[in-house]
């Protein structure tokens, strides 16, 4: 392709030193086209314009400082660009030489050249051709035969039709080897793939060698015109920016000659890539908000779309849209509404013909009728993902936000609805916030709630509905949730909840639901009226609304008061009824989520049990998507806190499916299921079933899971299992998984450490296991943990130490490792559990005389005023052990 270009522009010679453009009609047309492109860079592709070259582009110029406008710092005959710091950056313009550092600068400079524009572009191109011929680009990208075939196909496409660039393109050899190469094997060893002869329309033929390093012209002496294809985008972005520029320019040219080629798309995706790079470099906030952002590749329209009558119609409509006065513009807008704007190819064609930019520009005018027409089109176009991004790139989101204060209610509504579509990705949502859109959208809600006049009522309601839709989209970004809350949006949304219109309620509840993820907003949402109305709408006939309401309750019911309110407004029953919709998985996930959170209050569980919810939930443990399973398992955990339910779950065969879920890979699910099993296992009858299903080994294997949360909750679940299982010892001894324990004791997560300590305390009851653990160096590992300040960990750690003392000379070993001293300090803890278990541990440790001495010297006996009977007893025992040294001393 590059070859075709360097050929299309008719250089006098290919020698790198003196490339001059010949003055031919083709060249003139080419120059004019490139000039138009360069002039429009600033307005049409603002982001590309900022793209800075690695090395400045430099050529001899006739432009002098007096040609320049106020945008430059000028001193004598030297000028600096405004954008750069004049002291550091090299000057943009010195007599006869110009150095530009970005496409934007190039564009401004060319515009300043007035009637010498063409000459400037030519001079620039001539230098460019040198850059172009100079293979200074070290590429690790390798071309392969398949890639070459694609290039050849394109070149051959260029040689068809009336306005063809090339007379013919052919391989020198018709024989193709099995690997796709056409070069003889001994040349293949040099990386050569094939040889091509290209004949252009008005110059001679050109011999080209295609090899893995690129495409070279034969007989130019050394590597000739190397060309890089834009399908290797990573390569372009790393390469010298001069080449990036030429690619852009030449692509425009190709587009011009073959406006119907499928290559149009390539160029657009190229544009996108470069703008992405710019953004990542320039905007720091992007990174914070772009974490959720995923680049989706643009759908490439079928190449024959560009030959279809639809495409021609689009071209015509856009042409007159731009050309006519507002009367014609309005007519064309109405005609464009007939296009099939659900098709990506149509939308992309409108954009690529410049129609999208024009539509967005209309938003900045005062022509309300044109605005309405444009917005009607934009609403539909903005459902197409690549268009959303383009609209943001073209600064359209700002214009949309500005129209939210229009005097015409209809314009406000349409602009809000478009924003609702565009704010589908983080960058657009950020722009809405930064340009004050959140406040304006909230104002739309306010306007409706305050509107008195009946004549305006419907219009204002529509605007409020669209405003809520836009807020819903925007509220997917965390910062926007906060912005909605701090702008006072939540009480207004709450007022709109009294509406009876589903189309209004869905976005309103949707926004509330999104905002409820933010703790600060949740407090406002958890008001009586809002919860009351959410509960009321659970009974709606509209499934989408039910989903949003359930999700809102799911998020809000983390809070005790909300759970009480749900019960008070009789919301539990409708939630249970939603469980019957087993076909709608989204609804099922939302409903089970709400039930889970509501069941954190025991009072609610009791009410739920009147409807046998536990049985229904157990039925949902199989053949459901993970979203549902997570919530079901979470709810079961809460239900099983009620002792009576432990028998219920057994009777309704809920244990087996739970154990089977331990084989899942979803970490959130594993956490919840292990918790539920843990709650089950406290019942001996249940434990029998768990044993039969080999539940302990499954739980044990989860200790290998990389996620600390899973590790901890699996370990917690193992504890009651060991306690209640008759043959737990046999089971545990049968697998050789102890090696994992020392690893986990080195975890940095306190919850993991505490849970493993609890497991050790349980296991240490079996002498055989304790012996193995001691061999694994458990004493020193536990001792190392004693410096922690986490009371929960202290409690279980003391427990573990206490139980480990039972074996051989572990008591002395703990003393030698220095465990006694910190344990004495635990006696000062506020937490009674810590004090209790520390006392027990010290009691065990006191069997060793040396430890006794340490305890005495640290004043263990008088450490604490004794508040608890058990504690008193234990300390008494401790002191009992301490007596021998005293008496011995006395003797």
């Amino acid at each position: 392709m590059g070859v075709s270009l360097s050929k299309a522009a008719q250089w006098t010679t290919f020698s790198p030193d003196a490339s001059k453009l010949k003055s031919t009609p083709t060249n003139e047309a080419l120059l004019k086209e490139i000039l138009t492109f360069v002039e429009q860079i600033g307005s049409q592709h603002p982001q590309e314009a900022d793209f800075t070259f690695e090395a400045p582009l430099q050529w001899r110029t006739t432009v002098v400082t007096s040609d320049l406008k106020s945008d430059y710092h000028i001193r004598d005959s030297t000028a600096w660009s405004h954008e750069t710091d004049s002291r550091e950056a090299p000057p943009l313009l010195t007599p006869f030489t110009v150095r530009v550092r970005s496409l934007g600068q190039l564009s401004m400079l060319i515009q300043a050249a007035e009637d010498k524009k063409l000459e400037e572009v030519q001079a620039c191109l001539e230098v460019g051709s040198r850059l172009f011929c100079c293979p200074s680009l070290k590429s690790d990208a390798q071309y392969d035969p398949d890639f070459m075939k694609v290039e050849m196909d394109f070149l051959q496409f260029c040689s068809e039709g009336d306005d063809r660039l090339l007379k013919s393109v052919r391989y020198t050899s018709d024989f193709e080897f099995w690997n796709g190469c056409r070069a003889p094997p001994w040349r293949q060893a040099q990386g050569e793939i094939c040889y091509v002869v290209i004949e252009s329309v008005d110059t001679g033929s050109l011999n080209v060698t295609c090899c893995t390093a690129g495409v070279f012209l034969n007989g130019v002496g050394g590597p000739g015109a190397l060309f890089i294809s834009n399908s290797r985008k990573e390569f372009i972005l790393n390469s010298a920016a001069g080449v990036t520029l030429w690619l852009l320019l030449f692509h425009t040219y190709i587009m011009y000659i073959h406006s119907v080629t499928c290559r149009l798309r390539d160029c657009c995706s190229f544009r996108k890539t470069s703008s992405k790079a710019t953004l990542a470099e320039l905007s720091s906030e992007t990174s914070s908000e772009s974490e959720e952002e995923e680049e989706r590749p643009e759908h490439q329209p079928e190449s024959d779309f560009y030959l279809s009558s639809e495409f021609l119609q689009i071209k015509k409509l856009v042409k007159y849209l731009k050309k006519g006065d507002q009367k014609v513009t309005l007519l064309m807008l109405c005609c464009m509404l007939d296009l099939d704007l659900t098709q990506d190819s149509c939308n992309l064609a409108i954009r690529d013909e410049g129609g999208l930019q024009f539509l967005l520009n209309l938003l900045d005018t005062n022509e309300d009728k044109c605005k309405i027409g444009a917005l009607k089109i934009l609403i539909r176009m903005s459902r197409c993902v690549p268009i959303q991004r383009s609209m943001e790139d073209m600064l359209g989101v700002r214009s949309l936000v500005n129209n939210l204060d229009s005097e015409v209610t209809k314009v406000k509504a349409l602009a809000a609805e478009t924003i609702a579509n565009v704010a589908n990705f983080p960058r657009a949502r950020r722009t809405v916030r930064q340009s004050g859109g959140i406040e304006k959208l909230i104002k739309l809600l306010d306007c409706f709630l305050k509107s008195q006049k009946k004549s305006d009522h419907l219009e204002n309601m529509e605007a409020a509905r669209c405003g809520a839709l836009a807020l819903w989209s925007c509220s997917r970004s965390t910062k926007n949730k906060k912005a909605i809350c701090s702008a006072g949006g939540i009480p207004l949304l709450g007022c709109l909840l009294t509406s009876s219109l589903e189309s209004m309620l869905i976005p309103v509840v949707g926004t509330l639901q999104e905002c409820a993820s933010e703790e600060s907003s949740r407090i406002t949402i958890q008001s009586k009226d809002i919860i009351k109305n959410l509960v009321k709408n659970l009974r709606s006939n509209c499934t989408d609304l039910q989903i949003q309401c359930s999700m809102a309750l799911f998020k809000c019911a983390e809070d005790t008061e909300t759970r009480d309110l749900v019960r008070k407004y009789k919301g539990l029953k409708p939630l249970v009824e939603l469980l019957n919709n087993t076909n709608n998985k989204e609804l099922l996930a939302a409903a089970t989520g709400a039930i889970w959170k509501c069941s954190i209050s025991i009072e609610n569980v009791l009410i739920f049990q009147n409807d046998k919810v536990l049985e229904s939930l157990a039925g949902l443990l199989t053949a459901q998507p993970e979203e549902v399973l997570i919530n079901v398992a979470g709810a079961l955990t809460e239900f099983l806190q009620v002792p009576a339910n432990k028998a219920v779950i057994r009777k309704c065969d809920g244990i087996k499916p739970m154990i089977q879920l331990l084989l899942s890979t979803n970490q959130a699910l594993l956490v919840n299921v292990t918790k539920a099993i843990s709650a089950c296992a406290t019942d001996r009858e249940n434990m029998k079933i768990i044993d039969e299903l080999d539940g302990i080994s499954l739980l044990w294997s989860l200790l290998q899971n990389p996620n600390p949360e899973v590790q901890a909750s699996a370990a917690w679940a193992i504890c009651p299992c060991i306690g209640n299982s008759k043959d737990a010892m046999r089971t545990v001894l049968s697998f050789q998984g102890f090696g994992r324990i020392p690893d986990l004791l080195m975890s940095t997560n306190n919850e993991v450490l505490a849970s493993i300590c609890a497991v050790i305390a349980k296991l240490a009851k079996y002498k055989n296991i304790l012996a193995t653990l001691t061999d694994l160096g458990i004493v020193s590992l536990l001792t190392k943990l004693t410096n922690t300040k986490d009371d929960r960990l202290r409690h279980h750690l003391s427990d573990a130490i206490c139980h480990c003392c039972q074996f051989a000379n572990n008591t002395a070993a703990f003393g030698e490792a220095g465990a006694v001293e910190p344990l004495v300090r635990y006696m000062k803890s506020e937490d009674i559990l810590v004090r209790q278990s520390a006392t027990m541990a010290l009691f065990q440790l006191s069997w060793d005389p040396n430890n006794n001495l340490t305890m005495l010297s640290r004043g263990a006996v008088k450490v604490k005023s004794l508040t608890d009977e058990v504690e008193t007893k234990q300390v008494f025992f401790c002191s009992g052990n301490m007596t021998p040294p005293f008496s011995r001393h006395g003797n």
Binding site: K316, Y320, K327, L330, D368, K369, K376, V408
Partner: protein, 218 residues
């Protein structure tokens, strides 16, 4: 005439007119009469005899109050308001026109707009009508360059544009727009009501605020 007598006369006039028009109440008619008289007053300086707003003054009104800009269309509006074709819009014609055309129901406005674009009164918006209505849309650049070739290009473009428009609006494919064609198009897309030039007040809320509500307060 003393001001109180003047007021009474206006009230009496408002009484009679408000019986004849549909979309205004008596109070509103009164406001419109006040405004009309004020406009007439402004015209008096240049011309002694006054029986109504003349063409130029009327166009100024359309421009200032209703934000119309298209000269050709404003001429058409004047013709339609001036029912008896005497070159003046009287107070009754003024209120009648505003009532039916500007404040009318969508049906009334459809008829008014169709009538507006049916330049020869043939009952159809013909190709020639559309040509005349749209030709100015490219006019500016013609004057700037004024070359023969460009003129031909303009002609071609207008023709192509007409084809696009007819394709959209000419539902019975007879090469002209009947009222049924027009009505059907407007039903589908309300913006087409003023397809060939803005001839309705630009969002009349503003006018309501400026003329009707403001004067009611006085």
């Amino acid at each position: 005439m003393s001001s109180s007598a003047n007021k009474k006369a206006i009230q009496a006039l408002a009484e009679t007119i408000s019986k004849k028009v549909e979309h205004f109440n008596k109070k509103e008619v009164e406001c419109l009469i006040w405004r009309f008289n004020a406009l007439l007053e402004a015209q008096k300086h240049s011309d002694g005899s006054v029986s109504g707003l003349d063409r130029n003054q009327f166009k100024v009104v359309l421009h200032n109050l209703f934000e119309m800009t298209d000269d050709f269309i404003m001429d058409r509006v004047f013709r339609i308001f001036d029912k008896d074709n005497d070159g003046f819009v009287t107070v009754e014609e003024w209120i009648q026109g505003l009532s039916v055309h500007f404040w009318g129901t969508l049906d009334e406005q459809k008829r008014y707009c169709f009538h507006m674009y049916d330049l020869k009164g043939s009952g159809f918006i013909t190709r020639d009508d559309i040509f005349l209505l749209l030709k100015d849309s490219f006019h500016l650049r013609l004057e700037e360059e004024g070359r023969e070739d460009d003129y031909q290009d303009e002609q071609d473009e207008i023709n192509e544009l007409m084809e696009i428009v007819l394709k959209k609006m000419d539902h019975d494919k007879d090469g002209r727009l009947s009222f049924q064609d027009f009505e059907k198009s407007v039903k589908k897309e309300e913006l087409l009501l003023e397809a060939f030039g803005s001839c309705l007040p630009n969002f009349r809320k503003k006018f309501e605020q400026q003329v009707l509500e403001k004067q009611q307060d006085e």
